[in-house]
Symmetry: C2
Subunit: 190 residues, 2 copies
């Protein structure tokens, strides 16, 4: 049975273990085995707990056959960097990647709605800059161009789902859509 | 001559080309060839420009022998997700990685200083949660635990440098420290 690494800031939720369990059950329903990261299974008070968690997660990524990534914006305009690191690692390892976000809007639209920006030019020639005068991408992507294009080239397109705000990190509609993409893209068992 | 992929949100700076040039010159000084990402060399108005940039950058990462990553917090408490994706890809490809940040503080201290948090318990047992009640890591790292530990396990420890605020994305002190680490860790030529 193919193993899916279940990446996301879900590990930081108060009910992380329960969310991991629900994701594993959905994986099983689609004929996969779900692997949930180790963050909550290593005592945070042991020496070098963070190093142990890192190594356990890296080994789990190496054991997995593919990954599904929760790329919902986290503590800012972009996805959780821990999750994005793992997405990159899977791509480097040559394994298929699928991902979802629970906020449907474009990066630029979300950024403009929340932070100070400066606009240069009008219409299709308009360019936007952030408060540090750094260029803001405007390709219609949900996040930095590396993320959506990595998914499209190495698995399936980013699933954008508009979740209810109070279910932002718990709504699994996009996750299940990724499972369907993965089961279409990959043979039933390895 | 070993090739270094030069990753960072530097590509979004108004003087991105000049910064890339300075980084390449420093690389040459230490006996390396610097490869600067393609973001500014592809016409943003051609069809699928973002896809072309992604593919050019991915190919450049595959051509590189190692990477140096600017992990300065960008538009939020964490590093630029494009850069972090590339860090993961290099680790997945088994290539050495080095990184720096131009803000020296711990993630938790920075987060508490800027955003609303909730504290549970006191002293060494204290735990912190963000506005979505999601756990905030407290391992003394500069960012998510995956980043610093990936660097420490696969290249060199994250260099933390306190840059002047007006030079936050341009100060190359940490970059040069990474070059020194890389030249100590790797044979002079490939």
């Amino acid at each position: 049975m193919r193993k899916i690494y279940l990446a996301g800031p879900d590990v930081f939720l108060p009910d992380a273990i329960a969310i991991g369990q629900r994701k594993k059950e959905l994986c099983a329903h689609y004929g996969f085995e779900g692997l949930f990261p180790f963050d909550n299974e290593i005592d945070p008070n042991v020496a070098d707990a963070d190093r142990l968690i890192y190594r356990a997660n890296e080994q789990m990524i190496r054991r997995a056959d593919l990954g599904i990534f929760n790329l919902t914006p986290f503590r800012g305009p972009s996805a959780d960097v821990g999750t994005v690191f793992e997405l990159g690692a899977m791509v480097g390892l040559g394994k298929p990647v699928f991902g979802y976000t629970n906020i449907a809007e474009n990066y630029l639209d979300r950024y403009k709605g929340t932070y100070t920006t400066r606009q240069e030019g009008e219409g299709k020639d308009a360019k936007w800059y952030d408060g540090n005068d750094m260029f803001i991408e405007n390709y219609g992507n949900a996040d930095n161009l590396m993320i959506g294009n990595a998914l499209a080239d190495h698995g399936g397109p980013l699933i954008r789902h508009r979740a209810a705000p109070e279910r932002l990190f718990e709504d699994l509609t996009g996750f299940e859509a990724c499972l369907r993409l993965a089961s279409q893209a990959l043979p039933k068992s390895a």
